[in-house]
Symmetry: C2
Subunit: 308 residues, 2 copies
């Protein structure tokens, strides 16, 4: 079966009835209208075998999580996720189909329309996922919105995905931490709720808690004071490894949301499942404490710095 | 220099003042508003070394043409190109920078804002380019709009890029045909003009004239009768190779535009530089003639069928 037939079977058969899409798969481009008064929010991310997931990892799951990782960027902005376009790079037809099915599965779970696809035979399996959503103009949560006095809130666990990936590399194939790596769900509902309650500073924790907190500090011209005491992950991971703190502060790929919000929102943030892990102060950089002691922050993963 | 610094230097420094972009590079996603009454048009395509360009080909040029190839899809819809997001896959920092610079160069030439980027170290150099444009809602040129009696019009040469790629593989490094492969310019102005004059059926010729004409025939439920006599490329290529007709009808990567339009538009289409190469008839499929004789149509390139 040729490329076109494969993609047609996977994608073209998807009915698109979101009320906003004029043209989808099967033409040169897709065409969409935006809800009145809303802005477009777009992000594009690649995920490659042996970089973003280990060789041997289920390709359907890998593509599903690649989509969710991209959607996590929309969650961080507070956008309603609407469409995705998927460029599949596959070693063969079987890998192509597995990744295509993974994207469709993840898209269905998140209510996102697969609006376009491209495929190419490649030496390494991978995919680039571009996602788009919408939000009321002028309400996007950005990295630079932190203000001195804000609380710092975390939605979702950190460190568990890195723990699961480590277990996978040690030969484990199931368990809660491996699931934390494999089964990602972008926190779209939380992102929309945060934006709707007026939060204007947020990032998704993809590169590690301290590195991503550093992005908020730098963009906002502030200092983030974090304490890990409220995070149950530290104790849980400490039972398995000595470097549990490292996993929690530097382990990436969890796709939690980290936001800075005014103190009066505290009740609503806690009600949404958030954990307060710090405060915004004057200054620069990120300071992390656990049980009263400073924790040295390692940098998160950087594809080019780490191995370049 | 790490991934973030590299991308920052290449992309974040680009000032974005298109009047429509609220947030660009450096946040989790970019945020844009659309002109009133306009729809969003999006396409995403990958280009990989050794598939879309030969190893040893200048990476800056390769990335430039990858962007133009993606923009060609917007041209085919009649959209005004506005933004692109680039996922770079690079063997190292040097390749990353070369491809990044190529994208910036191509984007500047086409008046497109680079709104976001991602990069990853990969075994093979490549990039996925997602492009977006806008057009008045309801005016997109689609594949399925051909009507019996329409003329079939070609904007741009076909076959020369395939000829140039063949020369390159034979050791040539310069010349008009190699330029036809290397220096792609999406026909955005023609696309916008066609859409504005009321044309509603168009495709870009990326996979080969006959294959792409076949997409129009299939989507429109019509038969396309093409004649190559008006194309100077046949004679030009015949001076070099016996299979010149094959190159013209099956060679891809030229990014010409092929449209079907009502007869009364003939004068305006010719004034825009179009060449009438056929007519739309009842039936199905594509029939090609040259000097009064039927030409057998080979299929265009299919990454998975050709080698799968």
């Amino acid at each position: 079966m040729g490329e076109f037939a494969l993609l047609a079977r996977l994608f073209h058969s998807q009915g698109v009835d979101d009320g906003l899409t004029e043209v989808a798969n099967g033409d040169d481009a897709s065409v969409h209208t935006l809800p009145a008064g809303e802005s477009l929010v777009v992000s594009s991310d690649s995920a490659l075998e042996e970089v973003h997931w280990p060789r041997g990892f289920d390709l359907q799951q890998a593509a599903d999580r690649a989509l969710q990782a991209a959607l996590s960027d929309l969650a961080a902005m507070g956008a309603v996720a609407r469409w995705c376009w998927v460029a599949l790079m596959a070693q063969g037809a079987e890998a192509l189909e597995a990744m295509g099915r993974g994207v469709l599965r993840g898209a269905a779970r998140s209510g996102v329309v697969v609006a376009g696809g491209d495929s190419v035979r490649a030496a390494t399996n991978g995919l680039t996922v571009t996602v788009a959503g919408t939000l009321p103009s002028g309400t996007a949560m950005c990295r630079g919105g932190a203000k001195v006095g804000d609380g710092v809130w975390l939605f979702g666990a950190v460190g568990l995905a890195a723990a699961g990936l480590r277990q996978w590399r040690q030969g484990e194939r199931s368990g809660a931490w491996i699931d934390a790596f494999a089964r990602v769900n972008a926190r779209l509902a939380e992102g929309v709720a945060l934006r709707a309650m007026g939060v204007r500073c947020c990032i998704d924790v993809s590169d590690g808690l301290v590195q991503d907190a550093g992005h908020l500090a730098e963009a906002g011209g502030v200092r983030l004071l974090l304490t890990l005491d409220a995070l149950p992950q530290v104790a849980a991971l400490s039972a398995a490894w000595d470097d549990a703190l490292d996993l929690v502060i530097s382990g990436g790929e969890d796709y939690a949301l980290l936001c800075c919000a005014e103190p009066q929102l505290e009740g609503r943030l806690a009600g949404l499942g958030g954990v307060r892990i710090g405060a915004v102060a004057a200054g620069a950089g990120v300071e992390v404490r656990y049980r009263g002691r400073r924790v040295e922050a390692k940098r998160g993963f950087d594809h080019f710095a780490a191995r370049g």
